[in-house]
């Protein structure tokens, strides 16, 4: 692990003071001074948190959050932390930030196991556990068991297990391992999706099913792997299957009954996409009638992907739900001339009606499987004399987007990883500019395309700390050779049409963990990791950041400088999301599930043969060594600092 500290230009530091933080201190500092200030800050912070960690049960972090000149989440979407963890993103702003601060750089070295739990599964485990008032809920990959663990008792025994029994055949149409990205708690119920396309609501106390609704059809290649979002009485769910020739959609189910309130397709005529009078895309490229039909060859939109398998965010002030759409299908772009709307783009919809309010097509006519489904973080950033409501998006295509969340205007798009497939984003037209040399054509191999298909970053979300104002991005450094071949559409089978081989990008490290300053649009520090990073990040008010590696190391680093402070070797590679919660005993806990898999780890969880470089859509070639470094599993680990 190597840490790179960035010191170009001005360095922004958050100096602790008597009342917490004085933000907005712009200083031009160099090497030794930076270190000195940082260590002084660490000492002060450590002291500060130690003194205040004595059983504070106030809902928000000890001490006020800084009102400084850095990005902050909107209060309505990121309310005070009650010590629970009720949805994968932590809150509607998707900060993945815990305001608990008992565990700090000063005491994290004492972090030790509190209890473990075997989930009886050994596929890619991407979901975070949830914690609601003394009960922990764990949703597993297929067969999608839902466990309730009693945190009030020693060893956290199982209260109940709910088994939804999804169709076994669904495993055969799940593109990239049989993962599930999480459940969500709201109003006494746990909501989650099953691989075979159902949404379930289960009573959080009794474990009894409240309702279930069949939404996807595996005969057409549809699965559901995403975590739902519950907002304003609606359970929002979308399909997976961008590699299977499905037609993408998002649906809103009534939270009480499970009945479909609205359903919007991501391709096709405007009436299917719920595009009407309120639709005001910012850029001319996204304006026009029935673009979801006209930007495709005849009927190709019916099997064109643009699914909704990633992350949603919600702004309670405007009632807008934000989500991105997947790659268009097939990968072989020669078969679908046109912009292929509304694939690889971002929608803002009214949560009550589903009406599209704006769209921005991040990657028009996607050439490389640059889905647009990554997490969307809500923030208010300094702008002129005030603040501007924005979305922060570390995208698959390698650019960190800052967008006005009211209009969809791109304020900036800055590379956060190595890119040679595109030149940049034209902020006037909004258009991504491709590099002609890197455009794959059927019948030839196009080499050294960076980033590779999983992008500079795939699904695994970043965390956003309002304490430091930084976004902590776990991501990839992969390039690829890409060869388009004719894809035939046969329903229920893959619709890809590409032979791909991935490998490490410049530098040879396949993963990077970057602390990104979204205001000054630059990295503050980064950690080079050997293996691709496939686990989401967690940030805490104790100024710690947690993430896992695919060979099973669970790490805590200093949020301010990336220094490794603690690590634990888990029984399987980690691609799951860590969380932090306050236990019934008042102490702060950290929890994560280790279970290697997903697209990056399928070589282990699906027992693939590493001799074929094109395995797992080309990912196998980049992680040939992984089977020697970890084994499949599915174990929950929970840590705390012993008294």
């Amino acid at each position: 692990m190597r840490i790179v500290q960035y010191r170009q230009g001005t360095q922004k530091l958050w100096a602790p003071g008597a009342g917490g933080f004085h933000g907005g201190v712009m200083r031009r500092v160099t090497g030794a001074l930076t270190v000195a200030i940082l260590s002084a800050a660490a000492t002060l912070l450590g002291a500060c948190h130690r003194s205040s960690s004595t059983q504070s049960t106030s809902p928000i972090a000890e001490g006020p959050l800084p009102a400084g000149n850095h990005a902050l989440p909107p209060a309505a979407a990121a309310p005070a932390d009650d010590g629970n963890w009720v949805m994968p993103g932590k809150n509607y702003a998707a900060t993945r930030f815990s305001a608990l601060s008992q565990i700090t750089p000063a005491n994290v070295s004492k972090l030790a196991l509190a209890f473990t739990f075997s989930t009886a599964t050994n596929k890619g485990f991407e979901a975070p556990p949830l914690v609601v008032n003394g009960t922990m809920y764990v949703i597993t990959p297929y067969p999608n068991y839902l466990y309730a663990l009693d945190l009030t008792k020693p060893g956290a025994p199982t209260k109940w297990t709910f088994k939804p029994k999804p169709a076994a055949a669904s495993q055969g149409v799940a593109c990239c391992d049989v993962v599930n990205r999480g459940a969500v708690y709201d109003n006494g119920k746990i909501f989650f999706n099953t691989l075979d396309g159902q949404t379930f609501a289960v009573d959080a106390n009794s474990g009894q099913m409240a309702w279930h609704t069949q939404l996807g059809d595996i005969q057409r290649g549809e699965t559901i792997t995403m975590a739902p979002l519950v907002a304003n009485g609606k359970v929002l769910v979308g399909n997976s299957g961008g590699e299977m020739g499905v037609r993408g959609w998002i649906a809103a189910l009534d939270e009480g009954s499970g009945k479909v309130a609205w359903k919007a397709y991501n391709t096709g005529p405007d009436k299917d996409v719920l595009i009407g009078a309120r639709f005001k895309p910012f850029y001319p490229m996204d304006q026009g009638k029935d673009l979801g039909v006209k930007s495709w060859p005849p009927d190709a939109w019916k099997i064109g992907g643009a699914t909704t398998w990633g992350w949603l965010a919600y702004d309670p002030e405007t009632h807008l739900v934000f989500y991105g759409t997947s790659n268009p299908g097939p990968w072989n772009a020669d078969q679908r001339p046109g912009d292929n709307k509304w694939s690889a783009g971002l929608f803002a919809r009214d949560v009550n009606t589903g009406e599209a309010v704006w769209h921005y097509q991040t990657t028009p006519h996607d050439l490389f499987d640059y889905d647009d489904v990554n997490e969307i973080i809500l923030a208010d950033i300094p702008w002129g004399s005030g603040r501007r409501p924005v979305l922060l998006r570390p995208d698959r295509n390698g650019y960190f987007y800052v967008m006005d969340r009211r209009t969809g205007q791109v304020l900036s798009a800055t590379p956060y990883g190595y890119i040679n497939s595109t030149k940049g984003v034209d902020l006037k037209s909004g258009r991504l500019i491709y590099v002609a040399d890197k455009e794959p054509k059927a019948g030839r191999v196009t080499r050294d395309i960076c980033p590779a298909s999983p992008g500079a970053k795939d699904w695994n979300p970043a965390a956003f700390s309002p304490v430091t104002g930084l976004v902590y991005i776990p991501h990839n450094n992969l390039c690829m050779d890409f060869s388009g071949v004719q894809a035939n559409y046969i329903s229920g089978t893959p619709y890809v049409g590409a032979d791909v081989k991935m490998y490490a990008g410049p530098g040879g490290n396949r993963g990077v963990f970057t602390a990104w300053d979204p205001v000054n649009r630059r990295p503050v520090w980064e950690i080079k990791e050997d293996l691709p990073l496939w686990s989401p990040a967690l940030a805490t008010a104790g100024n710690l950041v947690f993430y896992g590696t695919m060979d099973g190391w669970f790490k805590a680093v200093d949020a301010r400088n990336g220094k490794l402070l603690w690590q634990f070797k888990a029984g399987s590679g980690i691609i799951g999301q860590p969380i932090s919660y306050r236990g019934p005993d008042g102490r702060q806990y950290i929890a994560v599930v280790a279970g290697v898999g997903g697209w990056a780890g399928a070589i282990v969880s699906a027992q693939m043969d590493p001799h074929d470089p094109t395995g797992a859509l080309g990912f196998a070639n980049a992680v040939k060594d992984l089977p020697m470094k970890t084994t499949a599993g599915g174990i929950l680990y929970v840590f705390t600092v012993p008294r």
Binding site: I490, Q607, D609, P610, D612, P613
Partner: protein
């Protein structure tokens, strides 16, 4: 070594080559027609109550197994029918790998043909009625060749269609330990 034995070696070698070539070019299209059915494909790993041995290999296996034409035809079908989308070029992904020496449902060619025809419960689609029996046998011959079991002279040095994969004659394989995939 005498010149006579060298000559006889040469003759023997030529005969062997000729024979191999003969086998390689023996297309089953000229063979006696056999009824179009795909076998039940019982696995040697299955328990057969009341008897101690697995049923014999389907007689048609000999027409397809290790046959260059069948393997080549199967390779094209493997791409056209999107098998490659799940199994890649043998390394697996959505579906299990086919180039290793583990066979969930048996590695005999008739067992592979059955798997293709009937599907399997964890996601393998059923191709009965979508492909002809002949095509299913061709596919089975190719799938079996992915594991490196047939002789190298039967597999193609280049694909009939565009592919970035390694030619089968050059595909590296892990050391095989095939208990259930030995031709009978």
């Amino acid at each position: 070594m005498s010149s006579r034995s060298r000559v006889s070696l040469l003759v023997l070698g030529a005969a062997a080559l000729a024979l191999a070539a003969c086998n390689r070019e023996e297309h089953h299209s000229r063979a006696k027609p056999i009824g179009e059915t795909v076998p039940a494909g019982e696995s040697p790993d299955t328990i057969f109550p009341g008897s101690s041995t697995a049923p014999p290999l389907d007689p048609r296996a000999a027409l397809y197994d290790n046959n260059a034409n069948a393997i080549s035809q199967g390779q094209q079908l493997f791409l056209q029918m999107n098998c490659v989308g799940c199994h890649s070029h043998g390394g697996g992904g959505m579906g299990p790998p086919l180039m290793d020496d583990e066979w969930r449902y048996g590695g005999r060619i008739d067992q592979i043909a059955t798997t293709i025809a009937e599907g399997r419960p964890n996601g393998m689609p059923s191709w009965r009625g979508k492909l002809t029996e002949d095509q299913i046998w061709d596919l089975a011959a190719y799938v079996r060749s992915l594991s490196g079991l047939p002789s190298k002279d039967a597999v193609a040095s280049r694909s009939e269609s565009m592919s970035a994969g390694t030619p089968q004659t050059l595909t590296p394989h892990a050391e095989m330990n095939n208990s259930d995939a030995v031709p009978q």
